[in-house]
């Protein structure tokens, strides 16, 4: 008897828990969707407000220049080191994989194309996520939890205009310059590495590079740079303004922001070839 009752309970519980779990999963999915929509809406609003302030000429020029110096000049050493290493590694690995059936000068094309189309923009963006994006989020988050953002509001200053807009504009203007430098450094480093490891001289390297070169590659690289230069400070600012809850909140928010920025760069990067390389 008691066994029967027990079985009945288990069976009922099992039947009830399945729809329960399903509805719980649906609720979680709905919340995720709601949160995603909220992020998208707030990002769009932040971008719109930045454009409006820019068009009205209300973004402090001095702040834009300060941010450009900080994002550009001060990021340069790290960007150059990253580009150097990426060019060297691409050249060495390309040379290693080539057999006698493929002329070695093709290495010039492989290195140049890889650096300009992919490595230059993406690795520069990854460097900037850590150096620029994380700092923006942490800075705005700290300002938020210490009521400095509220203080700006109380003083009649719009935080988007005085804090976010200069950084977003500086990102759009600075990242293309950094990517152009990264492209050049990467190609140069690849050329040197090709000579050192595969015995491919500069002339043959550039012969190979020219053979499969399209001028569109530069436009493509710059388009990526502008997109990443917009995405990083935009997401970083948005995430910074959303931070709540003291030092722990700032730490958590910054980590989430870095994750979102990295994901965004990789997704945008994946969208570029089907859209612009056909």
């Amino acid at each position: 008897m008691s066994k029967g009752v027990g079985e009945g309970v288990v069976a009922t519980g099992g039947e009830e828990s399945r729809p329960g779990r399903l509805s719980e999963a649906l609720v979680r999915l709905a919340r995720l969707w709601e949160e995603t929509c909220r992020h998208a809406g707030e990002l769009a609003l932040l971008l719109w407000q930045t454009v409006v302030h820019l068009v009205r000429g209300r973004v402090p020029l001095r702040s834009i220049l300060d941010e450009m110096h900080w994002m550009g000049v001060q990021s340069l050493p790290l960007v150059i080191i990253t580009a150097l290493l990426s060019g060297v590694v691409t050249s060495q690995q390309g040379g290693y994989q080539f057999t006698s059936s493929i002329p070695l000068y093709v290495l010039g094309s492989v290195v140049t194309t890889s650096v300009v189309l992919e490595l230059g923009p993406v690795l520069t963006a990854v460097v900037l996520i850590g150096r620029v994006g994380a700092r923006i989020t942490a800075e705005f988050g700290t300002m938020k939890v210490s009521e400095q953002i509220d203080a700006l509001h109380s003083l009649g200053r719009d935080p988007v205009r005085v804090l976010a807009a200069p950084r977003i504009i500086a990102g759009v203007l600075t990242v293309p310059a950094l990517v152009a430098i990264a492209d050049l450094v990467g190609i140069f480093a690849g050329m040197v590495a090709a000579q050192a490891t595969s015995g491919l001289g500069p002339e043959a390297f550039f012969y190979g590079a020219r053979l499969y070169w399209h001028n569109w590659n530069i436009v493509y690289s710059m388009m990526k740079a502008v997109t990443f230069g917009l995405a990083i400070p935009l997401i970083a600012s948005h995430m910074g303004f959303r931070i709540r809850g003291g030092a722990e909140g700032v730490g958590r928010g910054t980590t989430t922001s870095v994750m979102f920025m990295t994901l965004a760069i990789l997704i945008l990067d994946a969208l570029f070839p089907p859209l612009f390389l056909n």
């Binding site: 700290t142 300002m143 210490s146 009521e147 400095q148 509220d150 203080a151 509001h153 109380s154 003083l155 009649g156 200053r157």
Partner: protein, 266 residues
Amino acid sequence: MSSMVEYRGVYKAFDAPVLAGVELEVRRGETLAVIGPSGTGKSVLLKTTIGLITPDRGDVLVAGESVVFGGAAALQRVRRKVGYVFQNAALFDSMTVFENVSQGIAEEELRRIGRRELLDRVASALEHVNLDPGAVLGKLPAELSGGMRKRVGLARAIIGRPEILLYDEPVTGLDPVNSAVVHRMIARLASELDVTSILVTHDIDGALGISDRVALLDSGRIQFVGTPTELRQSELPLARAFLDRDQVGEDLSAIMGTAGSVPTAV
């Protein structure tokens, strides 16, 4: 005496209701202290005054303008009339004292006035709060003591010549001597600048010493409004608990036991 700030049925909930229909009128030129247990929404109420927090229901009128329904332009006008002193001063970390205090001046005015006038006004605001401009102008907030930071925050609030000053826990974290200094300063500024002051505080002695009226906020509503003398004579248990220091622990326990749950802290 006409009213300067009116809270009309202000309701605000976060996870739980914090303000549950606050009705309060602050008269022109008076100093009103808002007291109450921690987590009862005193700071939330203060923030609704200049739209830093928007009420879920109700309205706040400042000098006749609706903060909630007046739109962005009205809110901007209201903010120009108000100086807000934040709990931890909320000075901008990357700016010097001079730059911080300058931010208290409206941007259009800041563009209009010359460097000399700006320097004079910043120096004058700092002198008003008993700070030596020569000693602090070039310093960063991190180089100042807690009391000095509060006074710089106060200088930033008054430099724009506000009609209303809002103080959010102005003496929190200060020793009794510095607390007394800040309280005297609040009283002096109220008379010298002829401003309406709203003061949110836990320091009952200080609040009673400088305010014209006291409002007691608890369970999301104003439970008592009156002069300090009326508060002292009040038989309201919460008022007694606040006034009678020796009994404060027991009385608060008794009140919480009889009055039910205290709203969640924000």
